[in-house]
Symmetry: C2
Subunit: 514 residues, 2 copies
């Protein structure tokens, strides 16, 4: 067999089931190997940002990596933004990048570039295969690197001659390094701190965003009086009725500073220390004041859920202690759509088990608060600030969880980076409801202009923050990609449109005019 | 004034007129500076691949750089593929990337990444500004670096505090290093070789693709009997009636090898030595045989036009010697659209002075040959193999040349990488006629599968090379972005649609169903 087939068989043997792909000439043997070797389903996307964002969404829901198949440096580069988000989400992904044959690189053909320099900033592991015989072993190492600990992005560069050259065969899966356990002494020390009576805040991230982690955190809170918040950008968090109604740490740094001023003990459970998303004059990077004591219950790659359970036990909390949200009977919203009526309508109607991919930006703020009382659901959020994550994440989540409704709750400006996702939704007939919040502006940038004391934006500033003219027509765009759509202006129309989509299989787009 | 305003005033003083932009929070002071300082027109794009591809198209037509304004590492990364093409085209571009404030980088906020590692592979010059006071000087250096010699990509990373901090003011433009002149001895040696009587081929690239370079090459050919060809991917070439009817060096390496077998003397005039676009088993990287003598008349960054004129003089060629194409009276094409009827219709109707951005891939082959006899026009082609160049290049070319019709001759698969270009065409009311060649497949990949001896593609290979289902509906997509469109199936319908577009201002899309 050739190296390409050995790669595919090795990946399949290590549990990989999906390959999100946008291949080119240097990947043709890898494409053929997907036919020659069973077990990995290829999913085509029309743009590499969809490929990598889908792999990220898949990883968050499946808990294991898909392959991406990408074409040399430029093809990979188109996928970097969503790999940046995946890196911040600790999503396991194995990138397979076809490159020129080893002996052809010296010719500096037009598509030649320094792929490793492009890959390193978004990858925890990068390797370029040297020979066809080594490709299977490199693949096994890549999968293990992607799955180790909290998970991460592994990038394997495959010269074409290593794909077409003769190889001895696949290699067995490597042992996966699990998340490290937290030492009992660490738990005991934090238990003592919490008993000390200082106002405490527990910040959840990584593994503690699971149902198990949140329920343990609620026990700790009930027993100790500590407040519990989610990190600002939870990669994947379980929410809704039956779970603690947790809010997120605020986005704007002034609010973070204000909140932390009253906190004497900050406990990080899989989360990182809160820092400003952007630097602003006269606002510190680190938001916790000098006097706030910070303790790490679990690092992002440690088993935070088990540590929280141990902490609950150490504090003597009962198994069922702690506040849990009950399902709220949301009143129907009426009239014009805004963040509140939109959020309420979605929270009221979203089906049990929905996966909501939240890239609604300024339009989505209300929904997140309200949805604490919605039916149990999963939220994926924008982790690295590289907009264009939402629609591809929805593709990947729907591939990972074909029995669950996926709702892509999406800002209009952000949708434009990876709108080609709609085509893959139609091609694979994915149960995705896309709700585009069409406020026709980069609303967050208008807020940021004001924050930068640019209170009277001139024509240049206005033209670079307004999305009109012309008005994007999302129903036509969706139709162009093969997805049916409709446009709504009121909460009642939105409710009807959501009902139609939730009752049917396949994708549908709802343009919500705000 | 702050650093941002000093940057904009410095760039304007150095001749920069346009800023293609997709800014974010870290660029707000730069956005405001476009209002505070006159002279640079901002053009918004919805995706960074459009920004950089537009800057490339602008540079090829204007012969000088635009600014791009991009948001940290991920925003820049979205623009890398078209910067790769720009690098291969030697297009002058000045990237301005906003970054976190210098003191904020240590916080590793979500959008932090290694921007320099991402920028180096596509930039001839990369610098990160250290203080607000140095920003204007760095800008002057960036413009000079972009314009030096043949031109290239300069990337300036601007921490937010350098943009908002106090600066002494703008800096005067630096001296631009012109293209180096070719030594007389080089010209004389090549004149002697050409008189030697070996079958000779002159390959044109870079500067020699100009009208002046081509006319000189035709004189050399007429006097010496040498054949003249264009490099396979000319960044910008003048063509049509009045110019020599030059073909391109073939794309597939077997054809290149066959052609060069009969060549004893290969003269490179601003072109690089022909190499295989991809490496294939049993085909060499370098296509010229051992026995072929290669001489460099002008390197890509040298003045190849002047060198060709000197060579023509040295050979004693008369000023008006050499074959020039006459305007051909193309017969009207009828019936079903294919590469030939499509190419003939376009060659017949394209208006004088048109700029044709050729990313039609397999569908465009016939047109290029035929258009040697069309009205005088300019062709921009895909230089680096990173598909998705065509539509953004058309945006930039139309901004650079508002009095000329731009024709984006575009493959369907390739259009999907940067389709957001249509929105900027509508917003700026650019005179662009987009002709999408809709064959609904990655046709080139089917060819490459066959070349790799995969003659019976399985379901995976078929699904990764077919663009159906669903069928992309380009008329709806165009409408969604604010561009009127129509779909045609015959040469007669295409002719009518082109006529309508050429007679009106503003953009229009024609979906040509092949």
């Amino acid at each position: 067999m050739n190296g390409a087939e050995a790669l595919i068989r090795t990946a399949a043997g290590a549990g990989v089931e999906i390959c999100f792909a946008n291949p080119g000439t240097t990947e043709m043997h890898l494409v053929a190997a997907l036919d020659a070797a069973p077990g990995i389903r290829p999913v085509l996307a029309l743009f590499e940002g969809v490929v990598t964002g889908a792999a990220d969404g898949y990883a968050r829901m499946a808990g294991k990596p898909a392959l991406t198949l990408l074409h040399l440096g430029p093809g990979f580069a188109n996928g970097i933004a969503n790999l940046h988000n995946a890196r911040r989400a600790s999503s396991p992904i194995v990138n397979v990048i076809g490159d020129h044959a080893t002996w052809h690189l010296a010719a500096d053909a037009p598509l030649t570039s320094d792929i490793e320099s492009l890959a390193r900033p978004v990858s925890r592991w990068v390797r370029k295969t040297a020979t066809a015989a080594e490709l299977a072993g490199d693949t096994a190492d890549a999968v293990a690197a992607a799955r180790a600990g909290a998970g991460g992005v592994a990038t394997l560069i495959v010269p074409a001659d290593c794909a077409w050259g003769e190889a001895p065969g696949p290699v067995a899966a490597k042992r996966i390094e699990p998340r490290a356990a937290v030492a009992g002494a660490t738990v005991d020390a934090i238990a003592r701190s919490l008993r000390g009576g200082k106002p405490a805040l527990i910040l959840l991230g990584g593994d503690s965003l699971s149902r198990r982690g949140q329920l343990a955190a609620a026990r700790v809170a009930a027993k100790s009086g500590a407040r519990v918040l989610l990190g600002t950008f939870p990669p994947r968090v379980e929410r809704g009725a039956g779970l603690p109604p947790l809010a997120k740490f605020p986005y704007f740094p002034e609010q973070g500073v204000e909140l932390l001023e009253k906190v004497g003990e900050l406990v990080l459970a899989g989360a990182v220390e809160p820092v400003a998303f952007f630097g602003y004059p006269k606002i510190p990077s680190r938001l916790a004041p000098e006097g706030c004591h910070i303790s790490v219950l679990a690092k992002p790659d440690e088993d935070a859920s088990a540590a929280l359970e141990a902490l609950a036990e150490a504090l003597g909390a009962k198994p069922d202690e702690g506040i849990r949200a009950t399902r709220e009977a949301f009143p129907e919203a009426n009239g014009k759509l805004n963040s509140e009526t939109l959020g309420r309508t979605l929270a009221r109607l979203q089906p049990e088990g929905a996966i909501v991919v939240d890239e609604a930006a300024t339009s989505g703020a209300q929904w997140f608060s309200l949805a604490a009382g919605a039916a149990p659901h999963t939220v994926l959020s924008l982790t690295g600030g590289a907009i264009g994550q939402g629609l591809p994440n929805a593709v990947g989540a729907a591939i990972a969880c074909p029995d669950r409704r996926v709702i892509a709750f999406q800002a209009d400006g952000s949708s434009m980076y990876t709108l080609q996702s709609l085509w893959t939704m139609a091609r694979e007939n994915l149960d995705v409801t896309v709700v585009v919040c069409a406020n026709r502006q980069y609303r967050i940038l208008k807020v940021e202009l004001a924050r930068a004391d640019i209170t009277q934006p001139g024509p240049a500033a206005r033209s670079l923050t307004d999305l009109t003219p012309p008005e994007l027509d999302f129903v036509s765009l969706a139709r162009g990609f093969g997805v049916p759509g409709e446009s709504v202006k009121t909460a009642e129309q939105l409710a009807a449109a959501l009902g139609r989509s939730f009752a049917a299989r396949g994708p549908r787009l709802v343009e919500a005019l705000l």
